[in-house]
């Protein structure tokens, strides 16, 4: 018996593909943002609001990733974004190879910011680098303030956490300060914005964040 030593990470190939995607976006002065959350937290509604706020300033593309259906892509297109619907073939997450396929099919020439709306799931998407420059997690009020304690990894890898459905705060036992404390325990540098996508409230800091990061990306490209 001969033993061949590999000693390589199982995610190595994915990391290489992801780095390639990041380099491509960097070279073009564009941004890719990976949005993760539980099912039903308001990812699509939040993206629709974000597109509204950026209308005429930033061109937005969205890759909708679901196990089935195309309702989300239709919603995005009806609201002025460029969209493509990817079916993950039963997989619970997106990886960099799937992202690349989606980008090639959608085309990013007429897009400044491309969002990946990842499969609704707080576990698996956090493990796989999609090639996005920024990870965002949406935590909605009805889910409860304990989610960062229960699913820490997705919060650890997220630069931004949007606490959504703030309009429902009176109905649910959701402690905003406790949620923030738990998010910061996962990632002390996380930027946390409280929003209501339904009521269109609290979007300014999030929109400013997007604009300033896009500006940085464009500045790097022109250097």
């Amino acid at each position: 018996m001969t033993i061949l030593e590999l000693k390589q990470g199982i995610f190595k190939e994915n990391e290489v593909t992801a780095d390639g995607i990041r380099e491509e976006f960097k070279a073009k002065g564009k941004l890719m943002i990976n949005v993760m959350s539980s099912p039903g937290s308001g990812k699509t509604t939040t993206l629709v609001r974000t597109i509204e706020h950026l209308k005429g300033i930033v061109r937005v593309g969205v890759m909708e990733c679901d196990i089935d259906a195309s309702v989300d892509a239709e919603t995005i297109e009806a609201n002025g974004g460029k969209a493509i619907q990817l079916h993950t073939g039963g997989m619970c997450h997106m990886d960099a190879a799937m992202t690349k396929q989606g980008l090639d099919a959608m085309g990013i020439e007429d897009v400044d910011i491309c969002f990946i709306e990842n499969v609704g799931n707080l576990v698996c998407p956090a493990e796989f680098d999609t090639g996005a420059a920024i990870n965002v997690t949406i935590l909605s009020v009805p889910e409860g303030d304990d989610k960062p304690a229960k699913y820490p990894l997705v919060y650890e890898v997220s630069e931004v956490v949007l606490i959504n459905k703030m309009d429902a705060i009176e109905i649910f036992d959701f402690d905003v300060e406790l949620a923030k404390k738990r998010i910061l325990a996962c990632n002390p540098n996380a930027k946390i914005f409280c929003i209501s996508s339904k009521k269109d409230e609290g979007f300014e800091p999030w929109i400013e964040f997007l604009k300033s990061r896009l500006k940085e990306a464009e500045a790097i490209q022109h250097e």
Partner: protein, 117 residues
């Protein structure tokens, strides 16, 4: 939860190494899994035993799993402790300023092949 996804990564890597080394049959593949890498061993093996049949070279390849201990470091008292037992809170000083040193690995360590292949 995503054992099936990683199974395909392993299959691809094993196939590639087998091709590079002109191996016709792989007897076993050993993977190293950190204690807190969220991979369920039994499910990974179930997925593997299903997926391995897709490639000639891995048809009878046994999956072996080695567990790597998870260790967390405390920034305040500089202590190291077992993650699985104490989580994010340092058992020596009670601090939560801690981070994982190791234990989320997921590596392919080696494959075993017959000498005559």
């Amino acid at each position: 939860m995503h054992e099936l996804g990683v199974t395909f990564y392993i299959l691809k890597d094993v196939k590639k190494v087998a091709e590079e080394n002109d191996v016709k049959k792989v007897n076993y593949v050993t993977v190293e899994i950190g204690e807190v890498s969220t991979v369920i061993h039994d499910q990974l093996i179930d997925c593997w035993n299903w997926a391995r049949k897709k490639e000639e070279v891995t048809k009878e390849t046994e999956m072996r799993i080695e567990t790597l201990e998870a260790v967390t470091y405390c920034e305040d008292c500089k202590g190291e402790y077992r993650t699985v037992e104490y989580g994010k809170t340092c058992p020596y000083c009670g601090s939560e300023h801690t981070y994982l040193l190791r234990g989320n690995e997921f590596n392919i360590k080696e494959i075993g092949v017959d000498d005559d292949t």
